[in-house]
């Protein structure tokens, strides 16, 4: 393994594993490989493994033989070659209505970036984004891969209420608000898809390592899809890709 990892205690029951500080796909892939090895590890003691850009948090019931012992065990799991099976990932096609009715910040971005609104929609919907992890709100996907030309600073004053489904840009990131929330990102559209649904066994359809591609729809289609989503019968188009 080419990464030099550090292992730190985090509270009474946790080990934080950190990769060199960087946000990139190679790091993400290695983080997720380690996570998948841990998930298939039989140790009943682990109650939770959570990944972020360059870290894994492992929470235990309790350390069987102390922190140091557990770290040596983790190190050997990390370096073990056993079936480093290819990680499967899914590409999700997500409809977004970029109509000005939703995209309330399209005009200001268009002025600031000297791009037409059509160009913004084009740049935003032609990229395949990578899901790095889920955080901030239940079902909020941290997506990497935004076209540099669309990077827009967060608003100086956050809005008190951003609508559920708002597709937005904050700095060099883009994301969809899974529920109504205060927020400082710039809103360019709205997706009728539920990014978080307690009715499903797994409340998020996407998971770290998956990919997202947005496709533009008009107001009418937005309404139609929303009706189907509310009835629980809208199938999100997807392709399975090998990692």
């Amino acid at each position: 393994m080419k990464f030099k990892l550090t292992y730190k205690p985090y509270g009474q029951h946790g080990v934080l594993v950190e990769w060199p500080a960087s946000i990139d796909e190679e790091t993400l892939h290695d983080v997720l490989c380690f996570k998948s090895k841990l998930n298939s590890d039989a140790s009943q003691n682990i109650i939770e493994v959570r990944s972020a850009y360059h870290s894994l948090l492992i929470i235990y019931c309790q350390f069987k033989n102390g922190f140091d012992d557990e770290v040596s065990r983790l190190k050997s799991i990390y370096t073990s070659k056993e079936k480093s099976k290819k990680l499967k990932s899914t590409l999700w096609h997500i409809p977004v209505c970029y109509d000005a009715q939703f995209g309330v910040d399209l005009e200001s971005i268009s002025k600031a970036k000297k791009l037409s609104e059509a160009e913004i929609v084009n740049l935003h919907s032609q990229t395949i984004y990578t899901v790095y992890f889920i955080g901030f709100l239940p079902g909020f996907l941290y997506l990497g891969g935004l076209d540099e030309r669309l990077a827009t600073p967060r608003k100086a004053t956050p809005r008190l209420q951003i609508e559920k489904g708002s597709v937005s840009i904050g700095g060099n990131q883009t994301g969809v608000y899974p529920s109504a929330s205060p927020g400082g990102w710039n809103i360019i559209g709205n997706s009728p898809i539920n990014f978080f649904d307690i009715k499903n066994e797994s409340p998020c359809f996407a998971t770290a390592g998956d990919h997202i591609k947005f496709y533009p729809i008009d107001l009418k289609e937005h309404q139609n899809i929303k009706t189907l989503v509310d009835a629980g019968v809208f199938p999100i188009e997807r392709e399975v890709i090998d990692g």
Binding site: K8, P9, Y10, G11, Q12, G14, L16, E18, A21, S22, I23, I47, E48, V49, R50, S51, A52, Y53, H54, S55, L57, I59, F133, I134, G135, F136, L137, P138, G139, F140, Y142, S179, A180, F196, I198, S202, P203, C204, T207, A208
Partner: protein, 282 residues
């Protein structure tokens, strides 16, 4: 059934939290003072994670429409059953029509009402802990009705009795471990962090407690990474933020300290203007 006649300042149903959904961005939630919940449930013979009502500073006014046993633990809010004083940390039988009220806060900040078998409210993602948008409501409202089992119980006052250590309610000491970024502080800063007395600011709730005194530092923000209840974050402007049960699952501020499990219970019983200091366990 238990009817909410008045909800109190901030009352919610909580259990020990929502485990296993953090990778989807779901907060743990759960009772702020889990020691008190475990005591109340133990005295009732409940499972330790049975749902209770968490009451903050000013308790609710509740009417029982069933026969059952109740137990109150945590802060002392002067509980009264039909205007008669009842003690904390003791199982008490209630009858159909009984009214439970609370008076002036005597000690601590959050009190817990357990009921035989636990409150049978909405369970979402394996927990009854209230947290919007996971559950529909975040607090109890007037006229809410909470389901609980009806069990005729001829309770004798000689029944289950234990001595509960309540010294944590008044303690100012928060036991901590080093956080992942503690070593990035200078030696002087590390020393100061562990020796300073901090005041609880008015920004304190189920999500986080901010501390009043600014703590100057030159730490860089970190790449967004996992946080959990008890994590002490330090912002570039010098704010110390202690994350509590409803905190988000990830954060970008340096994590300088991590409270022990019992320190979280201690802090949960503190309110605006009170002091705390950190005590390093390692």
């Amino acid at each position: 059934m238990v009817k909410v006649l008045k909800p109190g300042l901030y009352s919610s149903v909580q259990d020990l939290g929502r485990m296993g959904y953090q990778e989807f961005g779901v907060p743990y939630s759960g009772a702020m003072d889990q020691y008190a919940v475990k005591i109340a449930n133990m005295l009732l013979g409940n499972h330790e994670s049975a749902a209770v009502i968490e009451m903050t500073m000013t308790g609710p006014l509740l009417q029982f429409e069933c026969e059952t046993l109740i137990c109150i633990s945590g802060a002392n809010m002067n509980p009264k059953l039909n205007k008669e004083n009842i003690p904390n940390n003791k199982a008490v039988a209630v009858k159909h029509g009984d009214v439970l009220s609370f008076g002036k806060l005597q000690s601590g900040f959050r009190s817990y009402l357990g009921v035989l078998g636990g409150f049978k409210t909405e369970k979402v993602l394996d927990s009854r802990s209230m947290y919007v948008p996971i559950t529909r409501a975040s607090i109890l409202k007037k006229n809410d009705v909470l389901f609980s089992e009806n069990t005729t119980f001829n309770h004798l006052s000689k029944h289950s009795h234990i001595k509960v250590d309540e010294s944590y309610l008044a303690s100012e000491i928060l036991e901590v471990f080093k956080g992942p970024e503690f070593d990035k502080l200078t030696k002087t800063e590390q020393k100061a962090l562990l020796e300073t007395k901090f005041k609880i600011s008015k920004d304190n709730n189920r999500m986080a407690y901010q501390l009043e005194e600014p703590f100057e530092n030159k730490l860089e923000p970190i790449i967004t990474s996992a946080v959990m209840p008890g994590t002490v974050q330090l912002t570039p402007s010098g704010k110390l933020i202690v994350l509590m049960r409803d905190c988000q699952t990830t954060g970008g501020y340096p994590r300088v300290l991590q409270l022990s499990d019992s320190a979280l219970n201690v802090l949960a019983q503190k309110f605006t203007g009170q002091s705390v200091r950190f005590k390093n366990l390692l």
